[in-house]
């Protein structure tokens, strides 16, 4: 790979973002309406609640994406009262398991972003894309061999 190809490959990195309908998706929307710039690497999947995000979704997404962000309403602000609080426990365990088996911590991230945090959403995607572009090639669960 020459330097340019490598840059392109990095720009190509795909990030799946599971965003809850009530907060984080609206936050992304606000970022758009407010014309906050963020890289085009993310592919948004709108979910009713962060509690809907099964760890299985995240692992499956990693078959075709380089990183996954899951974001919901801040604790206490869930549209369904406690969906994000239940999700938080699942995420904590998933995260520690992935760290344990040697998956880079930057690859799977969680956050709380409210509908009013358009600027924070854009900033978050900027940092995330930056972090992911600095990682080595993701093997997509063993299907891609690093050359």
């Amino acid at each position: 790979m020459n330097a340019k190809d490598e840059m392109d490959a990095k720009d190509d990195r795909k990030i799946v973002a599971f965003l809850c309908n009530w907060c984080s998706y609206a936050g992304a929307d606000l970022a758009g309406i407010s014309r906050f710039q963020y890289p085009p690497n993310i592919r948004v999947v709108r979910v009713p609640c962060s509690g809907r995000v099964d760890p299985l979704f995240i692992l499956i997404a990693l078959k075709n994406a380089d990183a996954v962000l899951t974001s919901g309403c801040h604790p206490g602000d869930c549209h369904y009262t406690s969906g994000n609080l239940v999700a938080r426990r699942k995420f904590s365990l998933l995260k520690s398991l992935l760290d344990f088996v040697g998956v880079e911590p930057e690859r799977v991230q969680f956050d709380w972003i409210s509908a009013a945090e358009g600027n924070r959403f854009a900033a978050r995607i900027n940092t995330l894309t930056d972090q992911v572009s600095k990682l080595g090639v993701w093997d997509r669960w063993g299907s891609v061999v690093d050359d």
């Binding site: 499956i60 938080r88 426990r89 904590s92 365990l93 344990f100 088996v101 997509r140």
Partner: protein, 285 residues
């Protein structure tokens, strides 16, 4: 290591239960066809109680068999089997009153490292043999040496090991089938609408199967070790189980199957639960 005294008490108890018509079947162990491996046995005639054994080969978790038992049953349990029964009761999979529990201390000569619950936590009758009975409240949060050692390796080394382990897997699902915590009518591994993971032994499918299997038993696994013993390929399944057991212990101060009024950690939450993922994976600046 057959303790004849304990065994004869078990046999006697089983015989009496069948004789008195208290139960229709006794679930226990009989000698297996392979030396050193005892096999689950369903005894409905009192004369057959003599075939029961209680020895080093009784490592399987018998709680699994209660799930499908329609008859009024007695079950002979060691520590971990009894904890699985507690789980199944609190998860509304079985009814306590339909079951007669004969408890006896774990007969395995090489017990699982760090096991603190050799004597059953629930029973209708306990066959005492002088083994130490631990009060649930004295059971300390467990540290697993395999996990602590593994965490000393670099991320690359850890990944290489786990990839190596799961690539041995032939996806026979023996680990799942033997596990008393795995009772879903339709397992995610076999769902077809949508089909989440392929049925091949492709490394990606295997990894996802293993990670999700471990997460599905998180906070419910009692570390009986049946999954690993059942695996024909020698996959180290307990490493991931142990990691999650430790994690659940330190994040939520919980160990499964100890108390009949337990609330499983993934069925609940606290407003101030720790959020380790925010600190490690970026997030709030």
């Amino acid at each position: 290591m057959t303790d004849t005294n304990t065994l004869s008490k078990i046999q006697e108890k089983a015989r009496r239960l069948l004789e008195d018509g208290k139960v229709e079947v006794v679930i226990g162990f009989a000698a297996g066809t392979v030396p050193g491996k005892s096999t689950p046995s369903f005894i409905s005639a009192k004369e057959d109680c003599e075939s029961l054994v209680w020895d080093n080969g009784c490592s399987l978790n018998l709680a699994k068999y209660v799930l499908k038992e329609k008859r009024k049953a007695a079950i002979i349990v060691k520590g971990c089997d009894s904890r699985s029964l507690v789980n199944l009761i609190t998860e509304n999979q079985i009814k306590r009153e339909n079951l007669y529990i004969i408890g006896a201390a774990c007969p395995l000569s090489a017990s699982c490292a760090g096991c603190q619950v050799k004597v059953p936590v629930i029973y209708d009758e306990l066959i005492e043999d002088g083994s130490e009975i631990r009060e649930v409240s004295t059971i300390a949060e467990r540290r697993y040496d395999d996990v602590l050692e593994f965490e000393k390796l670099s991320a690359e080394e850890r990944k290489a090991y786990v990839y190596g382990e799961v690539s041995k897997c032939i996806r026979c699902y023996a680990c799942r089938n033997v596990c008393p915590a795995c009772y879903c009518k339709e397992c995610f591994a076999e769902k077809s609408l949508p089909q989440w993971i392929g049925k091949t032994t492709d490394i990606g499918d295997n990894l996802i199967f293993h990670l999700i299997r471990a997460l599905h038993v998180a906070g419910r696994c009692v570390d009986c070790g049946s999954c690993q013993r059942a695996c024909p390929m020698g996959v180290n399944l307990r490493l991931l189980n142990h990691k999650l057991l430790m994690e659940v212990g330190s994040l939520y101060q919980f160990e499964a199957g100890l108390k009949e009024d337990q609330i499983l950690p993934l069925n609940t939450y606290q407003y101030d639960d720790p959020q380790p993922f925010l600190a490690k994976g970026g997030g709030h600046e």
